[in-house]
């Protein structure tokens, strides 16, 4: 029975929708939750929505594999890269995917340390976003290399050529950073999932499911020792992943900031990129949370309060981006540096002005709709806003790459950049790869952190009853 809250007229829309301010819906038992989530993994049927999107994603993956084969066989000339725009879509895609991955990590790690219990429903989804995002992000620096099979030259291994990598280059920092980030995400995700894999194993009816989950769960039995170690390790890993969330995108931003190119050589890049990453990542998590909630009927687990919180975070980060986009022209004007001032002018009015203004509209303008509660808590609206933000963030990355490179110091070196079919195929193909990996992860593995949701439900109940 829901407690009666008197309508004082000053209630927000969220309070009217969720009178008790609870994070989960009533009529909800612990065992029921575990059974529900385990059945989503174990049953052979899949929701139609999941199947549709997964099939489209696989089709895009096929396109991606064709595009990659063409790229590796024919060469980087199939893409639109030229001199001076030597970094174009591949690196824009790389930065965009890393952004998306980092946002997922923020939810898992930083909100874990901040003891924000509401994040427990979205944990698995955001970690799956991270892993899928890293898969896609990691591919692009390899693919744009020209001789992608020589990627291992970036590592300091003893070789007969007597050459070593240049550790002063941010590109090498990227290699180490990405490898560390991938390992961190994978281990954090896997360790956190052991209890849930055990729960699925205990409910498995078929031998295959039992064996697979059993091996993956490593024999987890829920003993007090294991829970104690788990809690400690989880906090430690979240604590290690947190600086990584900030530094990984800082290192990516230093790829640009350490270059002398006008428009790139700015100290605002590290916080600017990290903030953009949080925005893009949370937008992706929002969209996918809406989809997965619909597909797997998780309305009792992912509630409007989650969307409300996600929306608020997105709004905050977009306001910080607005600040950055005010400071950049101001700094350029204040510096009285002709090249910087020209770059700012060119971005707003030149050949690629459409990317600049579409980012302002989609990345900064559209999130301002999130000031209104109904745009945050209605799933369809939040999803639409999030998709527009994600597209806007891609426009921003593209704008950054191409505007600064196509018009740098010497007018004799200026050239325009035009995308080719290969560029488009790689971009949309990578979206397909991301969705395919993500949808596999949420289908084949528990879609929400069962024990974490149960724990936070307990805490919520205890808090409301006034029990310590």
């Amino acid at each position: 029975m829901t407690p009666h809250t008197p309508n004082t007229g000053a209630q927000t829309e969220l309070e009217r929708a969720e009178p008790a301010g609870r994070v989960r819906e009533p009529g909800f038992t612990f065992a029921g939750l575990t059974d529900r989530v385990a059945q989503l993994v174990l049953r052979p049927q899949v929701p139609l929505l999941w199947l549709t999107i997964f099939n489209l994603a696989i089709a895009a993956c096929c396109m991606f594999s064709v595009a990659v084969t063409v790229l590796l066989d024919v060469g980087v000339g199939t893409m639109g890269n030229n001199i001076p725009v030597a970094w174009a879509l591949p690196i824009a895609n790389y930065v965009w995917w890393i952004e998306i991955a980092v946002g997922g990590s923020l939810l898992s790690s930083i909100l874990r340390l901040a003891r924000q219990d509401w994040r427990s429903s979205l944990n698995r989804i955001s970690e799956a976003v991270t892993l899928a995002g890293i898969c896609c992000a990691g591919l692009f620096p390899i693919l744009h290399l020209g001789r992608a099979w020589l990627l291992y030259w970036t590592l300091p291994y003893p070789n007969t050529m007597s050459i070593e990598p240049n550790f002063r280059s941010p590109l090498i920092w990227d290699v180490f950073g990405l490898f560390t980030y991938a390992t961190a995400s994978l281990l954090f995700w896997y360790l956190d999932m052991l209890p849930d894999l055990a729960a699925v194993r205990d409910r498995a009816r078929s031998r295959t499911a039992y064996l697979v989950c059993g091996v993956l769960a490593l024999g987890w039995c829920g003993s007090a020792t294991q829970w104690r170690v788990q809690e400690k390790a989880s906090i430690l890993l979240a604590g290690l992943l947190t600086p990584l969330v900030f530094t990984i995108h800082t290192v990516v931003s230093l790829d640009f900031a350490t270059a002398l190119v006008p428009g790139w050589h700015s100290t605002i890049f590290p916080p600017y990129f990290v903030d953009g990453a949080i925005l893009a990542g949370l937008s992706m998590v929002s969209v996918l949370a809406v989809l997965i909630r619909r597909a797997f009927a998780l309305q009792t687990i992912i509630t409007r309060r989650h969307f409300d919180n996600l929306g608020k975070l997105m709004l905050t980060t977009s306001i910080i981006l607005a600040y950055v986009y005010v400071m950049e022209p101001f700094t350029a004007w204040y510096s009285a540096d002709g090249y910087d001032m020209f770059t700012v002018h060119y971005r707003a009015t030149g050949l690629y002005a459409w990317t600049y203004w579409s980012f302002i509209a989609l990345g900064i303008g559209v999130p301002q709709l999130l000031w209104w509660t109904r745009n945050r808590i209605r799933p369809a609206r939040l999803a639409t806003i999030s998709v527009l933000v994600i597209i806007g963030m891609w426009e921003e990355r593209y704008m950054l790459m191409v505007t600064s490179l196509s018009r740098d110091f010497m007018p004799s070196a200026w050239a325009a950049f035009v995308t080719t079919a290969e560029d488009h195929a790689l971009l949309y193909g990578s979206v397909g790869l991301f969705l395919a990996v993500f949808f596999l992860l949420v289908r084949l593995l528990p879609v929400c952190s069962i024990y974490s949701v149960r724990e936070s439900l307990l805490l919520n109940e205890a808090g409301r009853r006034g029990v310590a």
Partner: protein
């Protein structure tokens, strides 16, 4: 049949905490609880220790030293490049990868030591030997007084645990 212990199953966490308190008061020390989610109140009554933070710290430091050392050795000794006469030991640049190595080694150490102290992988668990026991233990809170407890053969844990009014009590054996 070698005995592993006596296990009692309860319906909720409060009963489990009460049972653990009572068992501790009765003198049993080698106990273990099994639950679908963490119940931190029982931790003070159970034996066990773990060493995650120091291991992580030492590994992190080792990783940092290794990361910085490799870069220093390569840049100064193995493959020095004269870039405008700048110092070969460009440590501000090396700090980035050194930091990444700190994090990498620390998290590898946390992961490995977490598995070690959780005693995983351990695919044979005496408690979950039979389908019956799996059914009884699923989503329940269990307390197991292990056979290695000094009072196991003198204090009759079976009747003691039965007196605590659990859902099920049975003896767990190794085969």
């Amino acid at each position: 049949m070698k005995s592993y212990g006596i296990v009692a199953v309860f319906d909720n966490a409060e009963d489990l905490i009460r049972a653990v308190r009572a068992s501790y008061a009765a003198g049993f020390r080698r106990m273990e609880t099994y639950s679908p989610y963490p119940v931190p109140e029982v931790d003070s009554f159970l034996p066990g220790w773990e060493l995650l933070s120091p291991v992580a710290f030492i590994s992190g430091v080792a990783g940092g030293v290794l990361g910085f050392g490799v870069q220093y050795y390569i840049a100064v000794a193995l493959y020095p490049t004269n870039i405008g006469g700048r110092p070969l030991n460009s440590w501000p640049a090396f700090a980035v990868i050194a930091f990444e190595m700190v994090v990498l080694f620390a998290l590898l150490a946390v992961f490995a030591s977490a598995l070690f102290f959780e005693k995983l992988p351990r695919l044979y668990q005496p408690l979950y030997r039979t389908p019956d026991s799996v059914e009884r233990l699923r989503d329940r809170f269990a307390l197991c007084i292990e056979a290695t407890d000094p009072l196991f053969f003198s204090k009759h844990p079976y009747s003691f645990l039965t007196s605590l009014d659990p859902l099920h009590v049975w003896q767990v054996t190794y085969d």
